[in-house]
Amino acid sequence: MTPLFTVEGLVVSRGGHRVLDGASLTLRPGERLAVVGPNGAGKTTLLRSLIGLEKAEHGTITAFGSLRRTEKEFRPVRARAGYLFQDADDQLFCPTVIDDVAFGPLNLGLAPREAAERALAVLERLHLGHLSARITHRLSGGEKRLVALAGVLAMEPEALLLDEPTNALDDVHYRRLLDILSGLPMAMIVVSHDRPFLHRLSTRVLALRQGRLLPAAFHSHPHTHDHLHIHVEGDHAHRH
């Protein structure tokens, strides 16, 4: 199977500083690639480069079988690789949920009625149908994240690029998101600090270190350490 993305020797600078310095990766169909790294390592920069929002100084990006360099060459990539922003509020710009989810399909050339139908179908599939007439800015943080995901999925992308998707989610929305993502067939690159989440979702891990991507692996073992509890007076004693 030909890879969806092949990146080789990517160099990208931001604010005069080389954030990516020879990063390489391959994403094959069905793979779920986790990318980890400390704050400021360049994880967001990497995802942005893959769809041409960040300009590469050196290196090559091959996406969906073709080399991509110019804005024009990247445009079709953005329709086929859905990018979930680190901040959902930036991604929801239409007044109502249904408008927002239908925005992508409309841009793909669907008629308004078809676009609205597809948007509604995606919302239903994510069990968000009841939100469709809601005003986007009145959604809770977790709802915003899921609606943003619906907007991306409505374009029927072949790959997903997810930038810290579990950020600022409460437990309910966290589990919903994990269930949804686990059930999706397409390839993904997931950036996150959330190890249990990555462990359950991803098939392979890369670590971003000094601007390069290094293979990494999850590794789980029993571990003994001091566990810090807080006991509240009046609660039942618990067993350890």
Binding site: Q91, C94, T96, I98, F103, R138
Partner: protein, 243 residues
């Protein structure tokens, strides 16, 4: 927000009725018709079923230049003297003028409040589109409503942070500088948000042409409300102009 009174009128019909009625009110010249207009507008506000407290609050607020205008009119319009205060002469015609303006102004405020007070800005945008407003203007309006609350919250949080550092607003250079910085900071954040939103649009295959977002279809009952407004407006003007 619930307005049992006008729930069944579509936003487009309400907008049209508002335009007709305010236009009629503005054209009135005599006190009897102006008084009738105010009474009718007040009845409309009652029917709309909204809480009247914010409305009364609003009516109590008069801009500086309006105070000046209303206070000076009785003295500057020549006519039958009612009261003489030294060099100042309060004329009956001037007083009628001032009262008339106050009646019309308040009637118009009541009409807007009664008919549009419960319409979501979003639906109003679509209504304006239905009445022929330019698409881009309506889109600008709709996108703006999307962001107003976001920035109201941001400004509220920042002002609280200022108060938490013992800031008390006064008429001072320090206060003006603080507010200038506040506005500057919020604008910078807004510009960066704008850049990210533009990217988000490009990521969803946006090619420079906004789809005509969700224009509401199938508004019925377009005629009843505005038709009634037309009749009422015409009746008011007739009352005003016919001897």
């Amino acid at each position: 927000m619930k307005a049992p009174g006008f729930d069944r009128m579509t936003p487009r019909a309400r907008l049209l009725a508002t335009l007709i009625l305010t236009l009629a009110v503005v054209a009135l010249r005599g006190l009897p018709a102006q008084g009738a207009a105010l009474a009718g507008a007040f009845a409309l506000a009652l029917i709309s079923g909204q809480a009247l407290r914010p409305l009364l609050h609003r009516l109590a607020h008069v801009e500086g230049f309006m105070v000046l205008l209303l206070v000076m009119l009785p003295f500057s319009v020549p006519g039958t003297p009612l009261v003489t205060l030294g060099p100042l002469v309060l004329s009956a015609e001037g007083l009628a003028r001032a009262i008339g303006i106050a009646l019309k102004t308040n009637a118009a405020i009541l009409i807007v409040f009664a008919l549009l007070g419960t319409v979501e800005p979003l639906r109003l945008g679509h209504a304006a589109r239905g009445l022929g407003a330019p698409v881009r203007l309506v889109q600008l309006f709709l996108f703006t409503t999307r962001y107003v609350e976001l920035f109201r919250d941001e400004i509220r949080r920042r002002r609280e942070a200022m108060r938490a550092r013992a800031f008390a607003r006064r008429t001072s250079l320090h206060t003006f500088r603080a507010y200038g910085n506040l506005a500057g900071m919020v604008l910078v954040r807004a510009l960066e948000k704008a850049a990210r939103v533009e990217e988000a649009m490009r990521c969803r295959a946006f090619d420079g042409r906004l789809p005509a977002i969700g224009i509401e279809e199938g508004e019925r009952g377009i005629l009843a409300g505005p038709g009634l407004a037309l009749v009422v407006g015409a009746a008011l003007i007739a009352l005003d102009r016919l001897p």
